[in-house]
Symmetry: none
DNA sequence: ATAATACATCAAAAAAATATCAAAATTATT
DNA sequence: AATAATTTTGATATTTTTTTGATGTATTAT
């Protein structure tokens, strides 16, 4: 697995800039290089990097002011890389909003580990797992169902049943199969449970409960959740 | 403003332990000290600390295994504090899940700055210092809650619970998730605590406690803080 | 068409989950 | 050390959900 994130290097020393670019590419990161604060700001806005590596001593100003500027509008991880091995500088940078401070000369491998650590923390994305079918959307994380964008009140069993049906849309699901997965192993022959809950669900999701468009009956076999075009969305 | 967070120190050297405790107290943190992995685990589960400071060399095992154990169930910030100034140790620790690595001898002020930096990042759930929902406004800096512009008297646990609910407005929060974050890892199954405190909060914030408009129950799942005019921040 | 079978519907009883209250235990404050 | 505040615990009331049973309607086979 290659990381593939874009890292913006802000460094005026060509030798270090080159070394970093090569090391980061080797590990799979994409990089952009900015040699002063002005171009760093431009790159930050236009390139949308995942992380900044910032040298404090830049030709057109102090790196700390850049940190402050960026922190006003972004929580992007910033690692300071500086020759200034001075306690006050370290503290000031961290309190400005930097996420880490590495002093030169530095170990490339350690820097890479610190990049991984910093990115790991900030990239904890919320996985949104939803399924939509016509007017019904089920959110498996929030455990909620929307009908025409209105929240449906379902009991736990109703929710479990609908979730199972929607996950197997357009398939005929035999009674016993539904009972086994929704209620559990001992309930395969409790047909009446299934009828009661199918009825309850239809009342809640069908426009016309007597002419169901979602949950159709496959007599003496089971039920089918009909959905012509259901797309899966996960980000 | 005093920080007031609890920091768990895991350190077998008494001198360093004492020094750290004093420095951290001076700055306003509460601390607990654990001298081995076994008691560290116990303290972690029962005390619900905001951050761990961990020495790698402990009498009953290597600190890295503790990091791995904790990372299986928690994203709590961990700062490693070690005499081992060895590139491999640093990389291994960070890749295990540590958030920072400081080598001994260390500057207390720098360590404090790194604690602030780490906490800032992990506590940054709310971008704003205050959050308003209908007639309720919570101020995370002052740790105050206003209902119709009148200051509410809340106990610490009531405040923590409400803060967590409001930070996650309109989402269904499972019982265990609430218990884990508000009370700590060892309290996931103390449902009665949750019921008692939800009840206490409703009495204080709901106009009609029997028909709650803010804190609604999601039977057999959890609770939801409902707030119509609250922007969803998820992509 | 008629009987037999399968399914739908409704409502009640039973069980489970939640709400509420208050006392006991703990912790913090004076 | 005494007092006050908060948390924990337990007992009981209330609500919600599941289970059960009774009855009506549709479908299928003869």
């Amino acid at each position: 697995m290659k990381p593939n994130e874009l890292i913006l290097l802000i460094e005026d020393d060509d030798a270090i800039g080159k070394l970093l670019s090569i090391s980061l590419h080797e590990y799979g990161y994409k990089t952009r290089l900015a040699k002063d604060i002005t171009s760093a700001k431009r790159e930050f806005i236009t390139q949308n990097p995942a992380l900044l590596i910032l040298d404090l001593g830049l030709p057109d100003g102090d790196g700390k002011t850049l940190i402050q500027t960026i922190r006003k509008e972004s929580k992007i991880p910033i690692i300071v890389l500086s020759a200034r091995n001075d306690e006050k500088e370290i503290i000031a940078s961290l309190d400005c909003g930097a996420d880490d401070y590495v002093t030169k000369p530095f170990s490339t491998k350690e820097l890479l580990a610190r990049i991984r650590s910093t990115l790991r923390r900030t990239q904890q994305k919320t996985v949104h797992d939803t399924l939509t079918c016509k007017d019904i959307t089920i959110d498996f994380i929030k455990k909620e169902v929307l009908l025409d964008n209105v929240l449906l009140r379902l009991t736990p069993t109703e929710y479990n049943l609908l979730a199972f049906l929607m996950q197997n849309a357009n398939k005929v699901l035999p009674h016993q199969h539904i009972l086994k997965t929704v209620w559990g192993l001992g309930y395969q022959h409790q047909m009446q449970y299934l009828r009661t809950y199918i009825n309850a669900l239809r009342k809640k999701i069908e426009k016309n409960s007597t002419r169901p468009e979602y949950i159709t009956t496959e007599s003496s076999i089971g039920y089918r959740f009909s959905c012509l075009s259901h797309k899966e969305e996960e980000q």
